[in-house]
Structures are given as structure tokens and as C-alpha cells.
Symmetry: C2
Subunit: 252 residues, 2 copies
Amino acid sequence: MGGVSQYSERTARPRAERARHVADLLRQQITDDAFPGGLLPDEGTLGRHLGASRNAVREALGLLREEGLVTRRRGVGTSVVAPKLGHGLDRLAGLAETLAGHGTVTNEVRVAETVSATAAVADRLEVEPGDDVVRIERLRRLDDQPLSLDTSYLVADVGRRVLDADLVHRDVFAVIEEVTGGRLGRAEVAVHAVNADAGTARLLDVPAGAAVFAIERSTFLPGGRVVDVESLRIRADRLTLRATLHRGPAAG
Amino acid sequence: MGGVSQYSERTARPRAERARHVADLLRQQITDDAFPGGLLPDEGTLGRHLGASRNAVREALGLLREEGLVTRRRGVGTSVVAPKLGHGLDRLAGLAETLAGHGTVTNEVRVAETVSATAAVADRLEVEPGDDVVRIERLRRLDDQPLSLDTSYLVADVGRRVLDADLVHRDVFAVIEEVTGGRLGRAEVAVHAVNADAGTARLLDVPAGAAVFAIERSTFLPGGRVVDVESLRIRADRLTLRATLHRGPAAG
């Protein structure tokens, strides 16, 4: 008891907070592809559905426009720029594999070369500094729209054979599996959100400073050997990371 | 064959790209808590370790400072602001549970009330519009530093009893489990990266526009009934989302 009474009651919520709540609900619906044809209802209808004033709805739509999720045009209304795509965090999959059915992934190969491992790369790839490693950088597009800027370092024996493959159309994961003759094992993934620096923003075709995912991923063969370490920059206005989490038994 | 020759070779990489690569490597090391005492080596040492020029290192440290990861002080050098904390995306856990051992999580309860479900909230909670639901908004701090702004909507029968619990110190998940007398089942999670609006930024104590995680999470009881839907805003300069992904068998 006594739980509620100690909290400050706010009957008049600041408008900015109401707008944020409305934006959260709308983002969810946009992500779930809830608007047929990508056209949102008018502000009054949205307000009734969301339990919000027209002002809060207008402000929320402004936030979503800044996120690059919707466009607003006089006489037309508010449209979803493009449905956000889901990239599963449940299992290890390449981008082209994940987006099969949503369009064609093509890669601009910006770097594909053998280099000497710096100490930092050597650490991550579990080789010696100065050892040959293969570096691949690709700008990945879905139907001509940039989605992801991927830098990969691969161990030399596998990487050299990956260099011979069709890096314009294929996932590196698929190529590694072809080269090694078996499935990959697991990956350790760290997901960051960062403001895009000017160079990254230009390549990904987003405003400088736009929030993007920065993902560090180390991929291992089934035996536990690390084969590929990557830094990915992914447009967050176009891709959502999704996972199903299970609670499992209590610890201890 | 013919793989490499078709790619444009770039021997002179633009400095901004080199800086981004160096920043990626350093972010990884900061996340892995690789600098004892949080003090980074000088630019020359870092450059040798990372295989980069002092200029590229300086520019990379500038990017990381803008991300809020490091501070630079004349005569002292570059320090990690605070180690980035990992929040697992492998299993369902509350923030206080995840951060046990890293400090004390306390929650400023900004809203804790029974409200009528709007159509949008009713959809997500699988109740009828107008039904009572419980809304809780908390600003969550780790050792007095804001980490996360969480808005939860709970089904009324569970939520009313959650309102009586100690929401200042406890995870809502733990309270739900106490109230229902069993473990939670699973959650469906969608992770977005967005630029913080001014109000959120002020509450989380980050610059307006800073990249933050926006997470939508629906949590289910073991029988499959949805019990809690949440919108979380999480500081991305302080928290990294981590997962181990398994490849599994080939589809089809």
C-alpha cells in the first residue's frame, strides 16, 4: 500500500510528453505495417484512435517526420516513407537472406583487399599483428536505397577465397559457408546507437547526425574459431531490430 | 575469379573514413572495458596499436567525444566517461536485474495510475477500448545517472496490484511475477534508434538529438496472454545491447 500516494500526480502532462507517447504508438503501428497503402488517417481520426488532441498528433507526426518515417504533403496528408524492415536478432542471418522477399540487395564493394592486421584487428580475429587478413567494405542497398555500410575483417585462409566470390550480390555469411563447406556457428553482437558522422551520413543518404545503428559482430565457426569481425552502420529509419526473448527459469 | 579487379581500389582513403574505422575499433575496446582505470593511451600509442595516423586517431576521439563516450582534458589525456553497460538481448530481464552488481537502480515514478485504454493501447494489450488499464512511467537511474525512460501499460487485474508495489526500487517484471505467482513467458521486442526529442533529452540528461534506443516491448505470461506493453527510451552512450546469435540449420 501507500504506493501511489507518494508519487507526484501530473494531470496536465506537458505537450511534448504527450507528443512523444503518440509518436511511440504511431511508430509501432508503422513498424507493424498497420496503415494500408502507407497513408495515415487525418489528424482528427488519429487523435480519436490514440486518445490524443490534434495538437499532440501534429507534434508527434513532426517527430516522426524528423526520424524520416513519414512525409507530410498538403492536400495529400501523411504517408509512410517506406515500411520499416525487421532484422531478426534471434538467429544469425545475413542482410540479403533476411530481406529476401522485400526487394533486391546489391552491394557496392568499396574495399576488397588483403592487408596486414593492426594490433586491434589482430586481437579481435585472434591472429598475430602483421598477419594477413582480408578487409571488405560494402555499401549495401535494398532496391537502390542505401541500408547499411559494412566493414568486415576475415581470417586470411577463408577471406582470400571470399574475395573470389560474387560480393556484389551475396551475403558474406553465405560465401563463408560455401568456402568452409559447413554452416557458421554463432555470433557475438553488440548493438550501439550513434549519431551518423558526416561521411557515413552521406553514404547512407541520411542527414548528418541522424541516429543509426552501429553493430559490432564477431562470427565463429562451429568449432569456436573466429572467422569474421564486422562493424556495421545500419539506417535506423529503415530497419528495426527484432527479437523474441524468453524469460527462462529464475537464476540461483 | 575476376572478383577484385572490378572494384575501385582506394589507396588514399578519405580521412573521415579512416577516423570512423578507428572510432569503431576504440568503441569496441571501450565497450569491452579494455582500458584499465578508464584512461586511454596517448594518440601516438593508440595510432600504433590501431595502425592509424595521429590525425585519424585525434579525429576518431573527437567522434567518440561527441557520442559522450570519452572526455579529453589537456594535461590528463582521454578518459572513458563511464564503462558502457551491456543489456542482454538473449533473455528477458529487467534493468535492475541486468545491472545487479554495477550499481543501484532507482526509479523516479512520474506516472502510476489507472486510465481508460485508447484504441491504440487496447489493440496492443488485447483489451477493449475504454477498458481500465494501468499506466506507469518511470525515469530509471543507475547511481543517480538517468539511463532509461520507461512507459508501461499493464492489463488492469495485474496492473492494479503492481501499483501497490515498491516501484521506486524494483523491476516491473519482478513485481508482475510476484503478483501472478509465476515466471513471465516471453517478450516481443522491436529496437529502434532515434534522435532524442528535447523533452526526452532533458530527462535523460543528453544533448537534444543524441542517438538513443527506442524499444517497444510486449510481454506475455507463459499461457500467451499479453500482460505489459512498454515503450523504453534508453541512453545509448551508457548502454549497449548484446546478444549471442546462433546460425542454426539451413532453411528449406
